[in-house]
């Protein structure tokens, strides 16, 4: 078996004295899509933040392409090839759609011309953004803002994309639109970690699935093989 592109090893973490994660082992192979599901407060977002250097962890708890990277500051993680679509989108207010994209291009792992993702390609995926490229970010709808957040993360030219609740608070039609681009992101060679609360969406979109409960992994396996009953008991605790 080849080395996973991203893996965590007995990862523990939390906020100050409050421990939220209790030994998470997880791996992501190159080109794979994995889902991480769990109820509110299970520790999913904390886990992503810990991987991404936003919360303190030991170096060998997170490995990227085989080397220990735990605790590396987030802006250096981008340079290594990890980027994130944060929960709640977190776009740069007061700036236009295209300026938001250009911040990513300015700091990307590869120049726009060399990486798989360019503004042009993203405007084909999300034609509405081309129309609104000179609009301030505040003028866009929630779904459109989510498209900008995904575009911004992709323009960092990541090898691994972390998506934190990208369907949260969006209309079902918009969620389908956004999930429809995931296969294209995979096809470009990017591996994806999808954090979701919606179990059906998470199962459909991923190769493998992890379920978290109270800071521990309670279930993992091939998405299509796991029964709904197994998920239900892992999700809520039995």
């Amino acid at each position: 078996m080849s080395t996973p592109i991203l893996s965590t090893h007995a990862l523990t973490g939390g906020y100050g004295d409050f421990q939220a994660l209790f030994g998470i082992d997880l791996h992501l192979d190159k080109g794979e899509v994995i889902s991480l599901i769990g109820a509110n407060g299970a520790g999913k977002s904390t886990f992503l933040k810990s991987i991404f250097g936003l919360l303190p962890v030991n170096a060998d708890m997170v490995r990227f392409e085989g080397s220990p990277v735990g605790g590396t500051p987030a802006h250096q993680m981008v340079g290594k090839g990890i980027s994130m679509v944060p929960e709640g989108r977190r776009l740069f207010t007061g700036m236009t759609v295209e300026e938001n994209m250009r911040v990513a291009i300015d700091n990307a792992r590869l120049p726009e011309a060399e990486g798989p993702w360019s503004r042009e390609r993203l405007f084909q995926l999300f034609p509405i953004l081309k129309e609104k490229r000179r609009q301030p970010i505040e003028n866009l709808s929630g779904g459109q803002q989510q498209m900008v957040a995904i575009s911004r993360a992709l323009l960092c030219q990541p090898k691994v994309l972390l998506c934190d609740e990208i369907s949260l608070g969006l209309a079902p039609k918009v969620i389908r639109e956004i999930h429809a681009v995931l296969p294209e992101i995979s096809a470009a060679g990017t591996s994806i970690v999808l954090v979701e609360q919606d179990v059906t969406l998470a199962r459909e979109a991923s190769d493998r699935l992890y379920c978290m409960l109270e800071g521990r992994i309670t279930l993992s396996g091939i998405s299509q093989d796991i029964s709904r009953e197994a998920i239900a008991s892992a999700y809520f605790g039995a």
């Binding site: 991404f52 936003l54 500051p73 987030a74 802006h75 981008v78 340079g79 980027s83 994130m84 944060p86 977190r90 776009l91 740069f92 207010t93 007061g94 700036m95 300026e99 938001n100 250009r102 911040v103 990513a104 300015d106 700091n107 990307a108 301030p136 505040e138 911004r152 993360a153 960092c156």
Partner: protein, 286 residues
Amino acid sequence: MQWLDAIIQGVLLGGMYAQYALGMALMFGVMRIVNIAHGDVMILLSLIVISLAGVLPLGNIGLIVVIVPIAVLLGWVLQKFILNKVVGADPLPSLIATFGLSIALQNLMLEVWSADTRSLPNSGIASASFEIGGIYMGLLPVLVLICAVVLTGGLDAVLRYSRFGRGLRAAAADTEAAAMTGVDPKRIYAIATAIAVAILGLAAVFAALRATVSPSDGSAQLIYAFEAVIIGGMGSLWGAFLGAMVLGVAQAIGLRIDPGLGILFGHLVFLAVLATRPEGIMARKK
């Protein structure tokens, strides 16, 4: 004619205030760091310039060339060792830290330079003037105004169109999200503070040429800079420039009415703007 003259002199005075306000607009307006030591840093740079002029046979231009790199270094050190430890969503820690710094700097300056007022030796430029249509204008204030316009325009363009400017605006909007997008917020902030203090270095030379400075003068400059930024609107550099003009003109008109009213008039206009348009004249839509 008397009032036209007051307005013109006010605009020229506004040019000086604009130089104080520009660094403040960058730090307070864009980065949301409250730097109470802003005026004291300017006075410190002025006193350094005056002392340098006593030992080195440099012209005014030469002094600017020497002081700006010193200012850049000072700004970088200030951000690296003090402000980067207190930046965040909460403005209070930076306020307290720089308040302490302000007191420390004032006392340090008193210790080194004593409470005497000082200024740069008059090299002719401070008293040179010319006449247009019956109105006399000082050469130095006109130069100061031109510098302020060029600096505001240049910095505004840097913020809008450069990689550094986009990174700074992104970090100011959401520091954590900017880091997730590859921006190193601490580095960007250190550069921004270095720029802000560099502008103060230039202002320090002009201030020492145009009037006297003493270690306790910083707080007045701080107030003018704050008022200009708030009158103009947070986050807008041209707004701060306009705010400085409003302040300068208000003071000049007040002075014409009664020599004791000048400073007060400026503060009254500031309060009037706060009461009627608290977001500032050129505030960006949120």
